[in-house]
């Protein structure tokens, strides 16, 4: 039976020891990836993969990622909503992994809203 072995787990734990220590405190930024059938079919999983890689690289602990269902705008999927305390929520449309990386680096990390990709502000 193949399972993740204890060694695997220990290795993962060691490699991430530095970052697992701080996981409390409020999230300042919430990123929602919309994962309805429409979003998934349009490529939301690839967007999520890119986001995960960027998150792992950025090593920030005040960013929370959540998935949600369809918000009714299926034709503009994959949609991603970025909410922060300072600015109003922005819904980005027709995302792919490159767009996600740009939104993460510019909007999430630096606070510059990427109006080219935006569908709406809420």
């Amino acid at each position: 039976m193949a399972k993740l072995t204890i060694d695997d787990l220990k290795r993962i734990k060691e490699e991430t020891a530095k970052s697992t220590s701080v996981r409390d405190g409020d999230a300042n930024i919430k990123i929602t990836v919309h994962m309805g059938t429409c979003g998934i079919a349009a490529g939301a999983r690839a967007v999520m993969n890119a986001l995960m890689e960027e998150m792992a690289e950025a090593d920030r602990h005040d960013i929370r990622i959540v998935t949600s269902g369809c918000m009714g705008m299926c034709s503009s999927e994959p949609n991603v909503t970025v909410e922060s305390k300072e600015t109003e929520p922005i819904v980005y449309q027709k995302m792919d992994s490159n767009r996600m990386r740009q939104v993460f680096k510019r909007h999430v990390l630096l606070g510059e809203v990427q109006t080219d990709f935006a569908l709406a502000k809420m």
């Binding site: 039976m1 193949a2 993740l4 787990l9 991430t16 998934i40 998150m55 998935t67």
Partner: protein
């Protein structure tokens, strides 16, 4: 959908929307007996009996944002065009059980695809929900149980993107190993079906 793993992601999201806190995903591939089964079990609020009959109708949905629901109808269509079928039942422990079968060698069967990404996506977006993912290829088994992982690594460890990323890599390696072991029956004999240890 292009990959069966995307269907899985979609159906699991249904369970999460239904308020489940533990979801079992079973994938059984048997090349010898020529079938592939995907089972997804959740402990959410379940589906009422009258709705159960209408599940494959795309114009029946519990959602309010739009009037069509395509998740289960798409999976049903994918299964049926591969000589298989979709069965949705009330689960034994409450919740819902979705089972899709496919003829493994059918030319229209979509590839399994990137299950590791499906799992990491689920983990990333739903840190409070437990997943038990079992993948069997010709009798060779892989199990990922987040309840065990959380016990081993600490409760909040699976919220860390670096951990999830690593975990994704581990899943990918294990699944590849599973496939290559299933491809070499003589190796399996030698190790009595065990992949590691």
């Amino acid at each position: 959908m292009r990959e069966l793993s995307l269907h899985i992601l979609d159906i699991v999201e249904n369970g999460i929307t239904a308020g489940a806190d533990c979801i079992h995903i079973d994938v059984i591939e048997s090349r010898v007996e020529d079938f592939l089964t995907i089972k997804i079990r959740d402990n959410g609020r379940g589906i009422s009996a009258e709705k159960l009959d209408k599940l494959k109708d795309p114009f029946v949905t519990s959602r309010t944002t739009r009037r069509v629901g395509l998740g289960l109808p798409l999976l049903a269509a994918a299964a049926e065009r591969c000589d298989g079928k979709l069965a949705v039942e009330a689960g034994t422990i409450g919740g819902t059980e979705v089972a899709a079968t496919f003829r493994y060698s059918h030319i229209d069967r979509a590839p399994m695809g990137d299950m590791a990404s499906t799992m990491t996506t689920l983990l990333m977006g739903n840190p409070l929900i437990d997943f038990v993912y079992t993948h069997v290829i010709d009798g060779q088994e892989f199990i990922l149980d987040t309840r065990e992982l959380k016990k081993e690594l600490g409760d909040h460890s699976l919220e860390d993107p670096i951990v999830i990323h690593q975990l994704g890599e581990s899943i990918r390696t294990s699944l590849n190993q599973l496939i290559s072991n299933a491809d070499k029956p003589e190796a399996r004999e030698k190790n009595h079906g065990k992949i590691d240890d």
